[in-house]
């Protein structure tokens, strides 16, 4: 297709309405299914269930059709323009220079039909600003090339075709094979996954209580009595079952999410493809990366792996909010080094000045770790058993908090700053001074007499704090941050 074809307002692929229909139906079911399940057992409502269901399907189908018909997009010389809405018209203009990244995704049905979804992320939104439900793969590739600025809208058709076809020609920086994928699955948060799976099972079983309750009532009395007496014996098998379920869910979810993961650095972009049922293809321009965030657990580090989150500018405030970025699991040290060399080429870990927190942090961590003993002492009283438990806990936490304290450090080479924290759950963040937005100094009445302070570095992708460092160091870092930001004339985003 010629780039001129994008200058006229056009609709998505006709199958986009199916995607919108399924998405809206899923949202409806997710929001109202407990109510629907409850009503289904009422005989009065049950007889109308077919009519209600048909009504919902027809209305949803009509809404999806309207959404598809009135959604049109086109490109001007410097912006993507989207018109949508039937009764309430909306016109969205996204300048190309505000686009942070363009991601492609393919669900199973889209893969079968040769279609693609396209998400456009901008610095002004927390997540994706615009989501194309279904485009021809060729159209999606061309649109992505135009939106990411690799091809200009007035370029010849050949340039657009060459650019959109040059995928997977570069040797990958890393790939996840089955063995590595299994390792990634094994090092997931099993407790969280197990609880989610348990919650899902209970949510499904609860509305069906009438059925499984009747089934349980069919048990002979002696079996029920035996179960009631032997519940203590069942605790261990239940725990084993829970652990097995949790690990199984972790491995399967890692498999579905990161299947055939392939990471490439081509020219000035980082490209990541992964997914089994839904194939995602992320591309982030290297110059737009604001922050690199490595996270690992003790087990993951023992296997030589880390997870890296690459963040771009986002609209949400401080840290926790989900912003624009991508996650790369199963990264080895060599891969991390190559990514850092590509994204922050000036960072030199050989020439750094280090900053460590004061020992006050260590005692603070230890005291906080002892807090759970207070409610326990109220429950069990000051008995000998409690004394033994408290002493053991104290000794254990004394050593673990020392390790945790040793994990806190920050270092800078003048271009970038690396902030590290944690031991069991370790986190490392690398950002560049000149990309910062502002800098804050914090101190409370407990820190003041000890001469300590925190320094918070605010980037467009979130904030990171260097904690409990001497006031002189905090002020020096603040002055340096201001100097680097204010003396930098280039583009920071």
């Amino acid at each position: 297709m010629n780039a001129d074809a994008f200058k006229e307002p056009k609709r998505q692929h006709p199958m986009a309405w199916v995607s919108v229909f399924v998405k809206n139906l899923y949202t409806l079911v997710r929001s109202f299914w407990p109510v629907a399940a409850g009503l289904a057992f009422s005989s009065d409502v049950f007889q109308y269930a077919g009519w209600v269901g048909a009504g919902v399907l027809v209305l949803n189908g009509f809404a999806a059709l309207v959404e598809h018909r009135f959604f049109k997009y086109h490109l001007t010389h410097d912006a993507l323009v989207v018109q949508s809405g039937w009764i309430q018209k909306e016109r969205m203009v996204i300048p190309f220079d505000r686009i942070q990244a363009v991601h492609m995704h393919q669900s199973a049905w889209q893969q079968a039909l040769g279609l693609c979804g396209l998400k456009v992320d901008t610095a002004g939104s927390g997540g994706s600003e615009l989501d194309f439900a279904a485009l021809n793969r060729e159209t999606a590739l061309e649109l992505r090339a135009l939106l990411s600025g690799r091809v200009q809208p007035d370029s010849p058709a050949e340039a657009l075709q060459v650019e959109s076809n040059q995928a997977t020609e570069v040797p990958p920086l890393m790939e996840l094979n089955a063995r590595k994928l299994f390792k990634v699955g094994l090092t997931q948060n099993h407790l969280r996954n197990g609880l989610i799976a348990f919650g899902a099972i209970m949510t499904v079983l609860e509305p069906l209580e009438r059925w499984w309750g009747t089934w349980l009532e069919s048990f002979p009395e002696w079996a029920v009595l035996l179960l009631a007496l032997a519940w203590v014996v069942l605790i261990v098998p239940a725990l084993v079952l829970f652990v097995f379920l949790a690990v199984f869910v972790s491995v399967v979810s890692a498999w579905i999410q990161y299947f055939r993961l392939r990471l490439e650095i081509q020219d000035d972009e980082l490209s990541l493809q992964s997914g089994l049922l839904r194939r995602n293809e992320f591309r982030i321009p290297l110059s737009k990366v604001q922050l690199l965030d490595w996270r690992s657990t003790w087990l993951r580090r023992k296997l030589g792996l880390e997870t890296l989150q690459i963040h771009q500018a986002k609209a949400q405030a401080d840290g926790g909010a989900k912003g624009v970025g991508l996650t790369i699991p199963g990264l080895e040290a060599e891969h991390s080094q190559r990514i850092v060399e590509a994204v922050f080429p000036q960072w030199n870990p050989e020439r750094v000045e280090g900053f460590r927190p004061d020992r006050y942090l260590r005692y603070r961590l230890f005291v906080i770790a002892l807090v759970p003993l207070i409610p326990l002492s109220l429950v069990f009283g000051m008995t000998a058993l409690f004394g033994v438990v408290a002493l053991s806990w104290g000794v254990f936490r004394w050593f673990t908090t020392r390790r945790k304290f040793n994990g806190y450090r920050a270092s800078t080479d003048g271009h970038g700053v690396l902030i590290e924290s944690g031991w069991w759950f370790k986190r490392r963040t690398l950002l560049q001074w000149h990309q910062l937005q502002r800098v804050s100094f914090h101190q409370n009445k407990i820190h003041e007499p000890r001469g300590l302070a925190h320094i918070t570095l605010h980037s467009a992708a979130g904030s990171r704090t260097i904690r409990f460092i001497p006031v002189s160091d905090a002020k020096r870092l603040m002055d340096y941050a201001a100097y680097r930001i204010e003396s930098y004339d280039g583009s920071w985003m």
Partner: protein, 176 residues
């Protein structure tokens, strides 16, 4: 061209520092408004507490017990004591500093903070003023940088003219 090239050693101790004594304070009338708000909230909450106590004594004198009110009264005293101390000592720590390339704002007594916002990172600025603030000719200057949906620096209690001057300085610096 090579002769113009310089690469001097940069020492962090030679970088410009932010000195506490250079900060400009907020107008006294803003301090008075803050004390007035403190007095109003303290009076209303104390009245509610005393009202509850009197009502209980009048409605059910047989079950009335003074000591039940000791904990809420102590909590009230601690809370408003801390608030009063923060107002008394904290106001003088509020202040702003405009340098050639950035704007700094410091505040807080129990929890002290100082934020530096370089002019070249400000996306836009805003001056807001409610009806009470308008009566006393004070307003709030809000500065927005990238990476956040809300104001990143908010200086409340600025004199109207000063706020507009600061905004003008920011606009001029960003236009360069």
């Amino acid at each position: 061209m090579m002769e113009d090239f310089e690469n001097k050693v940069l020492r962090t101790e030679h970088l410009p520092h932010i000195h506490d004594e250079e900060f400009e304070k907020l107008p006294v009338r803003y301090r008075n408004i803050r004390w007035a708000i403190f007095a109003l909230v303290a009076f209303v909450s104390l009245s509610l507490l005393v009202g509850l106590l009197i009502s209980w004594r009048m409605i059910e004198p047989e079950s009335f017990a003074w000591n039940v009110f000791l904990i809420p009264a102590a909590l009230w005293a601690v809370l408003f004591g801390i608030w009063a101390l923060s107002e008394w000592f904290g106001f003088d720590r509020r202040g702003y500093l405009t340098r050639e390339r950035d704007l700094s704002y410091r505040s807080g007594w129990l929890f002290h903070s100082l934020t530096v916002v370089p002019f070249n990172r400000i996306q836009h600025s805003e001056v807001s003023q409610g009806p009470v603030a308008k009566r006393f000719r004070i307003c709030t200057l809000k500065l927005y940088t990238a990476g956040s949906s809300g104001a990143n620096l908010q200086i409340t209690g600025l004199d109207e003219d000063v706020a507009n001057q600061l905004r003008q300085i920011i606009d001029e610096r960003n236009e360069r």
